[in-house]
């Protein structure tokens, strides 16, 4: 019997109804997340990873399954209580510019969260806390008077992080927090996120399509394809023994840091496009693009099963 997880998702599903058609954005995803740990979520665009993040925070209503936060089922919480709970579960968005109010200074943007949750008795106390968190994320105090359009992408993402962390949350969903940043800035922000996690014992749900970043930050990884988990494993296990053809293909499609100057890397893009989520292929959703697909894959949908402790794969051949 392990300790109670901070966040627990059980068979979470989300469907969108678009012009009479049903889009299965997230299908029966389960995970557990403990304080100080990071769950990486990877997949191509359209795989449902951002939707999963929003469902977990109940920014979107789940259609099936449940999400519990500190043992409380979010689907049973009244709206007002949920708003109060948001203090403990925050989100950092992919596009910091779009997620900040262009009419609010950085200071006001960060302070607003404190005001909403009634943190800090006086304006002076709030000011101290805002400045403290600004400095913690590596921005000068003077950045407080700036408007979003006056800051660079990297600075803005620090503001996004500061806004989430000013509330001292326990759980943060990071939705592609570095994808919009220059590569040189990405490493700094990732490093910052890691430090903050270790310092504050934060639980992260880290959504990304960048495997290297996920490997660096995560404890456990979910690989999503067309809204379904195709592989779920502890990070070392996943990178050492990727067992689903899709995971393997993903890993082949990115360059790694070479171990020797004359190492030749095999870089193979995944063939084909992700199929329309409105009409997922029959059988295994990955079979049209799978290099090792067999007849059974076209006929029968694989069930997810555990191939070693904590390592779950949804493939007939694994």
């Amino acid at each position: 019997m392990s300790i109670e997880p901070l966040v627990k998702a059980t068979e979470v599903s989300k469907r969108f109804h678009v012009q009479g058609k049903v889009l299965r954005a997230v299908e029966r995803v389960s995970f557990e997340l403990h304080p100080g740990k990071t769950l990486g979520v990877v997949g191509e665009s359209g795989s449902g990873k951002s939707t999963l993040g929003r469902v977990v925070l109940k920014l979107l209503e789940a259609d099936g399954g449940s999400v519990t936060f500190e043992g409380t089922d979010l689907s049973k919480v009244p709206r007002k209580t949920l708003r109060q709970m948001r203090r403990h579960m925050q989100m950092v968005f992919q596009d910091p510019m779009a997620s900040l109010n262009p009419r609010m200074t950085v200071f006001d943007a960060i302070e607003d969260g404190l005001k909403i949750h009634g943190i800090g008795k006086s304006a002076a106390e709030r000011r101290m806390r805002v400045e403290e968190v600004l400095e913690r994320v590596g921005l000068p105090r003077s950045a407080g008077v700036a408007y979003p359009h006056e800051l660079s992408g990297g600075q803005l993402q620090r503001v996004g992080i500061a806004r989430a962390l000013a509330l001292r949350p326990k759980f943060v969903v990071l939705d592609e927090p570095v994808s919009a940043l220059d590569v040189s800035i990405q490493a700094q922000v990732i490093q910052l996120l890691r430090e903050l996690r270790d310092e504050m014992q934060l639980a992260y749900m880290f959504i990304s399509h960048n495997l290297a970043v996920v490997e660096y930050l995560s404890d456990e990884v979910l690989v999503l394809y067309l809204g379904e988990v195709v592989e779920q494993a502890p990070v070392e296990e996943l990178f050492a023994k990727p067992s689903h053809p899709y995971t393997q293909a993903l890993m082949r499609s990115v360059l790694k840091v070479p171990t020797s100057p004359d190492e030749v890397q095999d870089l193979t893009p995944i063939s084909g496009e992700i199929p329309s989520p409105f009409a997922p292929p029959p059988g295994c959703p990955f079979h049209p693009r799978c290099p090792v697909a067999q007849e059974v894959c076209r006929q029968k949908k694989p069930e997810i099963r555990e191939i070693s402790p904590g390592h779950r794969v949804s493939c007939h051949l694994a």
């Binding site: 929003r54 925070l57 920014l59 708003r83 109060q84 709970m85 948001r86 203090r87 925050q90 989100m91 968005f93 596009d95 779009a98 997620s99 900040l100 109010n101 262009p102 009419r103 609010m104 200074t105 607003d112 969260g113 909403i116 949750h117 590596g138 921005l139 000068p140 003077s142 950045a143 008077v145 700036a146 408007y147 006056e150 800051l151 660079s152 990297g154 600075q155 806004r163 509330l167 040189s184 800035i185 700094q188 490093q191 910052l192 430090e195």
Partner: protein
């Protein structure tokens, strides 16, 4: 341990408020400033005009008709001996009442229907927007005429006739703002922060749509001024003896060959006023939405 920072470029302290910045941009546009001065004069005239008018608007001086400008009648008199200067002062009052009132009526209808369409979506949205299309396609002038004929030529009927026909643009604007903001990252981020709908509306939505509304209103007022003058030209403006710019111009037009000065003052002042409102609206557009363009 320390995070290597990207070299944070010095963030300029910004003591200026956004309004001050907007005013800076506005004041660089000389036409807009000139227009603003004229508009302020026009509004002041509308407020105090009736008190400084040397004659009442219905006063006639049958011994002095068709006079040119003189000390007694500084802008001359018309065919019934009305003092032109007084007529213009009173016209200004009525023009402002009708134009601002009508714009307000349009705006309120537009905001309600626009919000309703944008928030409700689905079939409600579809129906409201088809109504908007209809209002756009239907000549509003024609509708004005019908309404004025039906309800009379008083101040309020004219005000409502113009107001009721002019809301389509506002409804469309509000709806598009609602739609773009409702699904925006900004609003979602505010929700994620734990903000209530009221808080989001007040601190995130309103400040971002207010400038659009100010600009839309600034463009709406000269439009309604024109609409009421156009009614007068075909004899459906305010009923005489109530003066209006449209009436004055229409009257002058009938006597244009013999007494051209009857046209100069009302037409000139009215044209300048329209132009000034337009300049002000353009200036506001530029100053408040610098990225929006025109």
């Amino acid at each position: 341990m320390a995070v290597v920072l990207e070299q944070s470029p010095a963030v300029r302290p910004r003591p200026q408020s956004r309004w001050l910045q907007a005013w800076r941009r506005y004041s660089r546009n000389y036409f807009a400033v000139a227009g603003l001065i004229w508009v302020i004069l026009f509004l002041l005239t509308g407020i105090i005009g009736p008190w400084i008018a040397p004659y009442g608007y219905a006063d006639t001086d049958f011994l002095n008709v068709y006079q040119g400008p003189s000390w007694q009648h500084i802008m001359g008199t018309d065919n019934l001996g009305h003092d032109m200067f007084s007529q213009i002062l009173w016209s200004t009052r009525f023009a402002i009442e009708i134009a601002f009132g009508a714009t307000l009526v349009s705006f309120v209808i537009g905001v309600i229907l626009g919000l309703w369409a944008g928030l409700a979506g689905g079939i409600t949205d579809m129906l409201i927007m088809r109504l908007v299309d209809f209002m756009y396609a239907f000549p509003s002038y024609f509708l004005n005429l019908i309404l004025v004929v039906k309800f009379g030529r008083g101040l309020l009927p004219i005000l409502f006739a113009i107001g009721i026909t002019g809301w389509a643009g506002y409804a469309r604007l509000i709806r598009s703002l609602v739609l773009s903001l409702r699904n925006s990252d900004m609003v979602e981020a505010a929700r994620a922060l734990g903000a209530s709908p009221v808080h989001i509306a007040r601190k995130y939505v309103f400040p971002n749509v207010m400038t659009n509304m100010v600009v839309a209103l600034a463009f709406g007022i000269p439009y309604d001024l024109t609409a009421q003058a156009a009614l007068s030209v075909v004899g459906l403006g305010p009923a005489p003896p109530m003066p209006s710019f449209g009436n004055l111009v229409a009257n002058a037009n009938a006597n244009i060959l013999g007494y051209p000065w009857l046209l100069y003052f009302p037409a000139g002042i009215f044209a300048l006023t329209l132009l000034s409102f337009q300049f002000v609206a353009d200036g506001l557009q530029e100053a408040l939405n610098p990225k929006g363009g025109n």
